[in-house]
Symmetry: C2
Subunit: 317 residues, 2 copies
């Protein structure tokens, strides 16, 4: 085959990252745009093309490219669509693969953004030699990719592996995007952790906390992390609570596919042991005997942007 390159595009709730990847899995050049920088998907394609087309030209034009792989929320591999994505401005069903092919004259494939990250881990990351693992992305939202027997699970309609929407607290927090109550994503995402912070601070007005020095807008997973490392008890309690819920959920996931490992990924993992310790403890506490002390919880060793771009590009080959 004469095509030397693939394009990997990762559509996140905030940023869309993209790059040109060679057959060895090296990202040769990359850039990003705001995902919701315009209201329409046509505007998105235009902004993408303004940065991506010059890259394509630099690497010899569209004839040098085997394909475009895109990872996006609610993307469907079978149909090349993005459907009812809760965290994007584009509503309904978007025929993204068609739009990309028309714009760039390069064949395009789509998959769930979290599936793309899982494929990145399988090909280039900590799960390189594993046949059964689950990737959980803890970012603005919570995504997941499930690998069984070395293959990504797509399911009957192509939407398998939406573990962020598993109900972990009956009648729990409302998820505005989906209308569901008590979903994992409402607790263990950056957004969820922020909500936990506000709740705990408001429910404990008598307890002092460094977090009270921040305005409600500045109360983010980063500021909670900073306060926790300074020994703030409420900030630590927030991570304990988040890890407790995540660990319980991981115990449930283990019951499905009995993975060798669960790979955590995304912004919240920057908290390191603050998150990992309570997560591991809660998972073990809730595991069946036959799974105890067997399932590894790992942090991804790929740079976040890289894994998603690499995973998306791996769709092409």
């Amino acid at each position: 085959m004469k095509e030397k390159f693939a394009i990997g595009i990762d559509v996140g709730g905030t940023n869309t990252k993209f790059g040109i990847v060679n057959r060895k899995g090296e990202i040769l050049i990359q850039d990003r745009i705001k995902t919701n920088g315009t209201d329409s998907v046509d505007g998105f394609i235009l902004q993408l093309s303004e940065k991506l087309q010059p890259m394509i030209d630099e690497y010899g034009g569209h004839e040098n490219f085997a394909g475009i792989g895109m990872g996006a929320p609610n993307a469907n591999y079978y149909k090349g669509t993005i459907e009812y994505a809760a965290n994007l401005k584009w509503k309904g069903i978007i025929h993204m693969a068609d739009l990309l092919e028309k714009k760039f004259h390069i064949p395009a494939s789509l998959t769930n953004d979290a599936n793309a990250a899982a494929v990145g881990e399988l090909k280039y990351g900590v799960a390189k030699n594993m046949k059964d693992f689950i990737t959980i992305t803890l970012g603005t939202g919570v995504g997941s990719g499930i690998i069984i027997d070395g293959k990504i699970v797509l399911g009957h309609n192509g939407f398998a592996g939406e573990l962020g929407h598993v109900i972990v607290r009956h009648n729990g927090r409302l998820h505005k995007g989906t209308g569901l109550h008590g979903a994992l994503e409402s607790y263990v995402s950056a957004t969820g952790l922020r909500e936990t912070a506000i709740e705990i601070l408001q429910n404990n007005p008598e307890k002092p906390s460094l977090l009270r020095n921040y305005s409600i807008d500045d109360l983010t997973s980063e500021t909670v992390y900073i306060c926790a490392t300074q020994g703030d008890p409420i900030a630590n309690e927030i991570f304990e609570y988040t890890g407790q819920i995540l660990g319980e959920a991981l115990a449930t996931f283990v019951l499905f596919s009995a993975p060798e490992a669960i790979v955590l990924f995304g912004g919240l993992t920057k908290a390191g042991d603050l998150l990992m310790k309570p997560t591991r403890q809660a998972m073990e506490d809730n595991l069946l005997q036959v799974f105890k002390n067997q399932v590894k919880i790992l942090f991804s060793n790929l740079k976040e942007a890289d894994a998603a771009i690499l995973g998306a590009s791996a769709l092409v080959w």
Copy 2:
């Protein structure tokens, strides 16, 4: 191949059913013994052999048999063992495949009893032409088998598909066998439904119910069913509650593998629409948009004993 027959053995919490099956999937002869008729696994093998050996002899002796397939709780396909089964008298790790081979001089394979039932559905049941489905057994306990891409999911250690132990109510009912709180099995099994009945009756002493005519020992899923069909409001409430929890759990399972169908199986399914209606409603209420009105809930059309024996025997071929 000259071997004409396989043996399928289904080890349940109460009965062990076994039969001789030909290559067409016809059960030629079958029988059963009590699973816990003796305290030791050696006693079990002895009682099994007293009934099974004459059958083997009738069909030409062990040389005519390609193998023994056994479905059992907590059975491990990779190792041929039964490990820490909560509902059996045999504790620790039982090397069942070895015991069977030694006794009958026929090669033996093991799998989880619910996995065996799923394989039975795949080969001979309502899921015959499906590539992605989940089987849930609602019996004394709750078992499950997950089929993805036409294959049973075994996982890294061989214990995948233990969905009865998924936590559906945080800090909920204690499961004595596992020590876990709020597991699905504690609500949607025959045992769980009975516990729901007792709870609702005790919490509503002012409400009349036909169920109050039964002693607590006679309060079973069958008696609740009888009273519900006679229009008893509390009996109906018990099925509503059970279906609500089951439906919520099914919505979670859909997020995992995006199955075409979920096949329900076992004693509780005899309640028909009393269970099916609230289950379907609760599942749909808790599904993400991309899954709504897509996933079938089906009752198995195989006789319970047959599916498990057939599924276990299918391990052999």
